[in-house]
């Protein structure tokens, strides 16, 4: 057991930083001002009417502040492609397309074949489809109950990881192939950009709801956005997890 000797200079630096941070945070954390109800009052009366979604949080992040959500999906996209390129450690990995990995079966066996037991196969392999369905439910019902594109997408991603962990080599699904997931993610991004531009021809502006003037309920736009985001997030995070499992070249 090595005992690390911390120099006095190091301790001084740490203490100084922590004190400075504490001093700066106190006025904000312990502020006595009561929380404003401006936004809550407005949304309580008008949120359902203007956006059509019962879940007010969905109406905010897919309606009023949809641009922030677009930025968030872009952060996810960059993180996923960056992580995968860094892990597949070859300088040209950002340049190559995503090829098939039929030759990766041996690696798959050696990496995750070590302590495989029947427990893993049965539990994760059989639970995988159920988790996928739950993820789909979260995506599609995001406007009525807590949920939405991101939450559903992350559950879908964990479903994909379950199926990748639990399947044996000769019965893997197409869902865990890198190429397919990359295609779903790229297509999802395309549809998201197209959806954000769809309001322009009708004169509703960037990210305007194209269904505002029509008979249809504006919530359909939110459902569509939820689905696109869910598929994109699910494919992206699933892809990243599969890369971390060591299955992407």
């Amino acid at each position: 057991m090595k005992k690390k000797k911390y120099s006095i200079f190091f301790i001084f630096q740490i203490v100084l930083s922590l004190t400075a941070v504490l001093a700066v945070l106190l006025p904000v954390f312990f502020s006595r001002v009561s929380w404003p109800d401006l936004a809550r009052n407005y949304l309580e009366y008008n949120g359902l009417k203007e956006s059509g979604a019962r879940n007010l949080v969905s109406s905010i992040y897919l309606g009023y502040r949809a641009f922030d959500t677009l930025g968030e999906t872009i952060v996810l996209l960059v993180a996923v492609s960056g992580t995968i390129s860094i892990i597949s450690h070859s300088g040209l990995s950002l340049a190559k397309g995503f090829g098939e990995e039929k030759s990766k079966k041996q690696t798959y066996n050696s990496i995750s074949g070590f302590n495989r037991t029947e427990l893993l196969d049965v539990v994760t392999g059989k639970l995988g489809p159920i988790v996928l369905i739950f993820g789909l439910y979260l995506m599609l019902f995001g406007h009525l109950s807590p949920g939405g594109g991101f939450q559903g997408g992350v559950v879908v991603a964990s479903g994909i990881v379950f199926m990748a962990l639990g399947s044996k080599t000769d019965s893997s699904t197409w869902l865990q192939e890198a190429g397919v997931l990359a295609k779903i993610e790229a297509t999802g991004f395309l549809f998201l950009i197209l959806a954000s531009l769809s309001g322009i021809p009708g004169g509703f502006g960037f990210f305007g709801n194209p269904l505002s003037g029509t008979e249809a309920s504006p919530v359909i736009y939110i459902i569509i956005l939820n689905t696109i985001i869910g598929l994109k997030v699910g494919a992206g995070i699933g892809f990243m997890c599969i890369a971390m499992l060591g299955k992407v070249e």
Partner: protein, 114 residues
């Protein structure tokens, strides 16, 4: 009141971890803790003005503030993405220097030519 004290302690633990711990993986844990403390702070403060979840079923009144929740959805996703990228970089650093200790890595990478 007690919640805010706990949250500031959590924040300081996260910040302490980032600067004082030598292992890069622990630094990344600490960043995650830092993010979580701010997320909880937002949600907690936003919930003080109402009693119901912001789901407008029939006859629901007095909901909590939905804005902090929507903002924190974004912040959580961004935090996860940054954690993933940081872990990938830590992986590559380990592959190159065979250590997770930040001082060792600094020494090894600053001694040799680019």
């Amino acid at each position: 009141m007690i919640e805010r004290i706990l949250l500031i302690i959590l924040f300081l633990i996260g910040f302490y971890g980032i600067i004082a711990k030598k292992n890069i993986i622990k630094k990344i844990f600490a960043l995650s803790i830092l993010n979580s403390s701010v997320v909880i702070l937002f949600i907690l403060e936003g919930s003080k003005i109402g009693t119901n979840a912001p789901i407008m079923e029939e006859g629901v009144k007095n909901v909590v503030d939905p804005i902090p929740q929507a903002l924190m959805l974004t912040a959580i996703v961004i935090g996860v993405c940054i954690t993933a990228l940081a872990l990938a970089i830590a992986f590559r650093l380990y592959r190159y220097t065979h250590t997770f200790d930040i001082d060792e890595i600094h020494r090894k990478l600053h001694d040799e030519p680019f």
